[in-house]
């Protein structure tokens, strides 16, 4: 009964999480409201737009009960601008993720992807959200007729993916035993692909340097754990 999978998420699991993202649809049939487990679903009245989870949108699309409106960042124009930014303006770092909503009050559980509306019709057009690659491929596969120029989008997504994978691979050079790398803007599927390699390198290096680290820990404890002042700032940005 125990799960036979190693730690980390498999690609189908990442896609499963991505299917919780909200997308905007134009229903072609009426559907009464439903009390779903993940919150109530408002009645769908054509041609009023509605934001629903991706899994439901795909279900409706397959049965031709709705059209999906691709998020603004998934347009050839936005993708080309982001690709240009990734290649020319910031050749070493990922493009920044979408702007976060203001922090909610501390009593409420803070929301994060896939529950932030980063892929609805009124999402930001200038940034790739966490699940950009998965969401893009799923929409292109299930609803190519809802895009103005699906082939162009496909081409740009492919370009973006290659540019960003190259950056991830280059970023490997900064890895060391301590960990502590910032990777803002990384995508879910990219992380899933690179996870075992990156954590493997960090863990492996840590094991090699273990005795030195143990000695230091002991010294720190004897000195009442006062961090030395002369440390270099080697916190590398992989952004």
């Amino acid at each position: 009964m125990a799960l036979p999978l190693p730690p980390g998420l498999t690609p189908p699991e990442i896609a499963f999480i991505c299917e919780m993202e909200l997308v905007t649809i134009i229903p072609r049939q009426r559907l009464e409201g439903l009390e779903l487990l993940g919150g109530p679903l408002k009645p769908l009245n054509p041609p009023q737009r509605a934001s629903i989870p991706l899994w439901l949108a795909l279900l409706l699309k397959r049965q031709r009960r709705a059209n999906i409106i691709p998020p603004p960042w998934l347009s050839p124009h936005s993708l080309a601008a982001i690709l240009k930014f990734e290649t020319e303006d910031s050749p070493d770092a990922f493009s920044p993720p979408p702007r976060l909503p203001p922090p909610s009050s501390s009593t409420v559980v803070p929301l994060s992807s896939p529950f932030l509306p980063s892929s609805t019709a009124d999402a930001a057009a200038d940034a790739l959200p966490y699940h950009w690659l998965e969401l893009g491929s799923m929409l292109l596969e299930a609803a190519p007729d809802d895009f103005d120029d699906a082939d162009e989008v496909r081409k740009l997504l492919r370009g973006l993916r290659e540019v960003r994978m190259a950056k991830l691979r280059q970023g490997v050079e900064v890895l060391d035993a301590g960990g502590g790398f910032k990777m803002n803007g990384v995508g879910g599927m990219e992380l899933g692909e690179a996870r075992s390699f990156i954590t493997g390198v960090v863990d492996g290096l840590r094991k090699i340097g273990k005795s030195r680290e143990e000695a230091r820990k002991e010294r720190d404890r004897e000195n009442g754990y006062s961090p030395s002042q002369d440390y270099e700032d080697d916190e590398m940005d992989m952004r």
Partner: protein, 221 residues
């Protein structure tokens, strides 16, 4: 703060309980799939989720006989969602079982230490762990341990400074996303000081951040 920010804040605070529970369950599942250690049992959350899933399944069973195509489609939607929830819950429990099976003594000790109001394991998990270990111990005893000298029969020996009890690699690297600013995080044994701000994604040692993951300031991704 502009009008969009104010609207967004209102939207978060009026978000239905069900949606927030789904967010929490998803987060707990991902953490359990990735983190090297088992997390505290989210008792209240699981109670609410399981009760809702149970009610929804009853609803589906009640209406299955209905042949009206409209109701039929509604049922397909409801059922698809129930299956998604069942997958989440099952995968979450199985990920926990795997950890319990891998490091039973370590987890038992941690469970005993943990606060009774927020236990590490659910009652069912605790029962599974203890009865499984009792069976295993009886089996080992009967098949070979009883033939060893008395001093070598223990399964949790700590003589010679080396503990027989296996524990997970608590320093394993994980990816985390910062949900609330936590300030500076120090990594013991190195010179690293990380300034963690909301929205950042970091690769960091599990041991350095587990407290914040537990309190919900960071999430494992």
């Amino acid at each position: 703060m502009d009008i969009d920010d104010i609207l967004a804040e209102v939207a978060v605070d009026t978000m239905p309980r069900e949606t927030r529970d789904l967010q929490e369950l998803t987060r707990a599942w991902v953490a359990e799939r990735i983190a090297p250690e088992i997390m505290a049992w989210p008792g209240e959350l699981m109670e609410r989720v399981l009760a809702r899933v149970g009610r929804q399944i009853e609803l589906v069973e009640d209406q299955t006989g209905n042949m009206d195509p409209k109701t039929n489609f509604r049922l397909i939607v409801v059922q698809t969602e129930v299956e998604r929830f069942k997958f989440l819950v099952r995968s979450f429990l199985r990920a926990r079982l795997k950890k319990i099976d891998t490091h039973p003594f370590h987890i038992l000790a941690k469970h005993t230490e943990s606060d009774a109001s927020h236990p590490l394991l659910s009652p069912a998990e605790y029962q599974y762990l203890t009865s499984h270990q009792a069976l295993l111990a009886a089996h080992y005893g009967a098949s070979f341990l009883s033939q060893f000298p008395n001093s070598l029969q223990r399964m949790d020996d700590t003589t010679g400074g080396i503990s027989m009890v296996d524990k997970p690699d608590e320093d394993a690297a994980v990816f985390v996303r910062v949900l609330r600013d936590v300030g500076e995080v120090a990594i013991e044994g190195t010179d690293k000081r990380l300034d963690m701000k909301r929205g950042d994604v970091w690769v960091v040692r599990w041991s350095a951040v587990r407290g914040w993951v537990g309190s919900g300031d960071l999430e494992v991704i």
